[in-house]
């Protein structure tokens, strides 16, 4: 592999180097191809495998063929240490990924995102002493990799904590100013470090300080963001990790890393935009967290919430032709997806056409409801997106809202003063009957009354979604 096969600009290059670059090209192509297949249901699984193959190829050829860049031709040493580290990480990753419950998926995605960010942060930290201080570009990408990686790491850890219920929200207006200050200090320090003529060793204190500042910023950035905004935050942090990896790609002049990282950055950004659009809010609005403030026009009293008995609900649903189930975070919390599927199968045997209406931001991460229901073996053909189900609503006999609130609040359409005005909703109020399963009389995340619950057509079943569904299934069976 050390055979010199030609020269480029006077520098000789070997067969090994050429094969390495070729393998990076192939890996990058596999990433693109994999992502392309991942965006269609039929081919998604193959796409994931192709992308994984690309990653394996890149790792393998780096291990076998990478040489020191200065042309001294020193091959990689410490191969056993590297293999052991990969072994440890892979084993943990594999076991956790196999064992984890599907309901814990948002946490897991955040956790893995955190580890990716941490790796980027560490690589940038360790490469800083090797940076050419007179080449501002090279210093810039190293510092950016460090900052973005650190924010992705600590931010994802906080997101993980929040999704797991271990970390609460800070809802103080002060956080906004603290964050702006932190950001100014962080970038100020980074700018100072970029002045040419400095020696990296003298800046050791600065690089560690920069890392700590970025970590603190990541924490403070996610802290004030509420649960219902989690889909946006997770997507955003995901794109950060990608960008951080791309920055590291600059350090190593590694095109596979640059391309892979930027692809992930783009994917994360697209999801972020989609999630924001589904809530009709700007990204800035989500980050600053100006939601649920007192400026909302107070919902007028709309009479009383009317309850329904289990047997009436069972009869109503059994003798319907079209039933649409609207799942929300309450379904995930109660882990009611299996019994929910039991209900839809039972109704199907009675000739009822049951479908699920999925709002893009239902749950705590993009596509959360789809994953939950897929786990319970609900065929994905039965899961209908909001835009496709809304025209069918007037022909729907019963809409069953399970643990969802703001995504079916008609105020988004009717009340221009509402904080959720303009947010696309599932138009449950157009259906003939609405049954709402709710834990209590509380408000949704947006902190506003939902006039759907007071509607003439609406009846409520209070209680934990799983228990309620279980009783309903028993009731329908005994009909």
């Amino acid at each position: 592999m050390d055979q010199v096969i030609g020269t480029l600009n006077g520098a000789p290059f070997t067969l090994g180097e050429t094969l390495l670059e070729l393998s990076y090209l192939l890996a990058a192509l596999l990433f693109v191809f994999g992502l392309k297949l991942l965006s269609h249901p039929e081919s998604a699984r193959r796409g994931n495998l192709w992308a994984a193959a690309g990653m394996f190829l890149g790792m393998l050829t780096t291990l076998l063929l990478h040489k020191n860049e200065e042309g001294s031709g020193i091959a990689l040493a410490n191969v056993w240490i590297i293999l052991a580290a990969i072994g440890v990480g892979s084993a943990i990753g594999w076991i956790v990924a196999r064992k984890i419950k599907m309901t814990a998926m948002p946490q897991l995605v955040s956790l893995y995102n955190a580890t990716g960010g941490a790796a980027s942060m560490l690589v940038a930290l360790l490469e800083f002493p090797n940076a050419d201080m007179n080449n501002r570009g090279s210093v810039l990408v190293t510092l950016l990799g460090l900052i973005i990686g650190a924010v992705a790491f600590s931010g994802s850890m906080i997101a993980y904590g929040k999704l797991d219920g271990k970390v609460g929200d800070i809802r103080s207006g002060l956080v906004k100013y603290v964050n702006i200050l932190l950001m100014i200090i962080t970038f100020g320090l980074a700018a100072f470090m970029m002045f040419p003529g400095q020696i990296p060793v003298q800046l050791n204190w600065a690089i560690y300080l920069l890392m700590v500042l970025s970590l603190v910023y990541g924490v403070m950035f996610v802290m004030p963001i509420g649960g219902a905004d989690m889909p946006v935050v997770i997507s955003l942090l995901n794109s950060f990790t990608g960008i951080a990896a791309a920055m590291a790609g600059f350090i190593y002049h590694n095109q596979a890393m640059i391309l892979g990282g930027i692809l992930v950055g783009a994917a994360g950004t697209i999801l972020t935009v989609l999630m924001c659009r589904a809530m009709n809010r700007s990204l800035l609005n989500v980050i600053v967290g100006a939601f649920g403030g007192g400026t909302a026009s107070e919902g007028k009293e709309q009479g009383e919430m009317k309850e329904i008995t289990m047997s009436d609900a069972a009869i109503l649903m059994s003798y319907s032709r079209n039933v649409v189930i609207v799942p929300g975070y309450g379904l995930a919390v109660a882990q009611a997806q299996h019994v929910c599927h039991e209900l839809d199968e039972l109704l199907a045997t009675k000739g009822v056409n049951v479908r699920y209406a999925i709002h893009p931001v239902a749950g705590r991460m993009p596509g959360h409801m789809n994953v939950l229901l897929a786990e319970a073996d609900v065929p994905y053909e039965q899961l209908v997106e909001m835009e496709s189900i809304n025209p069918d609503m007037p022909n729907t006999d019963v809409v069953v809202v399970i643990g969802a609130n703001d995504v079916v609040n008609p105020a988004a359409i009717t009340d221009p003063g509402s904080p959720i005005a303009g947010m696309p909703i599932i138009q449950a109020h157009e259906a003939k009957h609405v049954i709402v399963m709710k834990r209590g009389r509380g408000k949704g995340y947006a902190g506003i009354e939902n006039e759907l619950f007071f509607n003439e057509k609406t009846r409520l079943l209070f209680g934990n979604a799983k228990d309620t569904l279980q009783k309903l299934v028993t009731e329908i069976k005994s009909l």
């Binding site: 965006s39 495998l49 080449n135 596979a256 065929p379």
Partner: protein, 104 residues
């Protein structure tokens, strides 16, 4: 102005790659159905573990004759990145397997 131009010239290939892959990423992933949002995110997340190549190069050229902070942090970076890569791809596969099996 000069530093910016210098930056561009030094990294002209990489900047081309970035500019094009942003477009490529948007083209490849736009119009993804919401069914696939979670697997797409976790699959993309696994790809961002490509940083592992950086970790391998770093530790590969580190001095392992003594236990230095650099070596330990480098090893940590590889462990984290491989967790991200393997865990990400495996969990994505598990999710997609669930989507697949109910095709009657």
């Amino acid at each position: 102005m000069e530093p910016i131009l210098q930056f561009f010239f030094t990294y002209k290939e990489a900047i081309f790659i970035i500019a094009l892959s942003v477009f490529l990423g948007i083209e490849v992933i736009s119009n993804v159905p919401s069914v696939l949002h979670t697997p797409l995110m976790s699959g993309a997340n696994a790809i961002s573990g490509v940083i592992i190549i950086g970790g391998i190069i770093l530790v590969g050229h580190a001095d392992a004759s003594q236990l230095s902070a650099e070596l330990i942090l480098g090893i940590l970076a590889i462990i984290f990145a491989s967790l991200n890569v393997v865990g990400g791809f495996v969990v994505t596969d598990r999710m997609l397997e669930m989507f697949k099996k109910k095709k009657k």
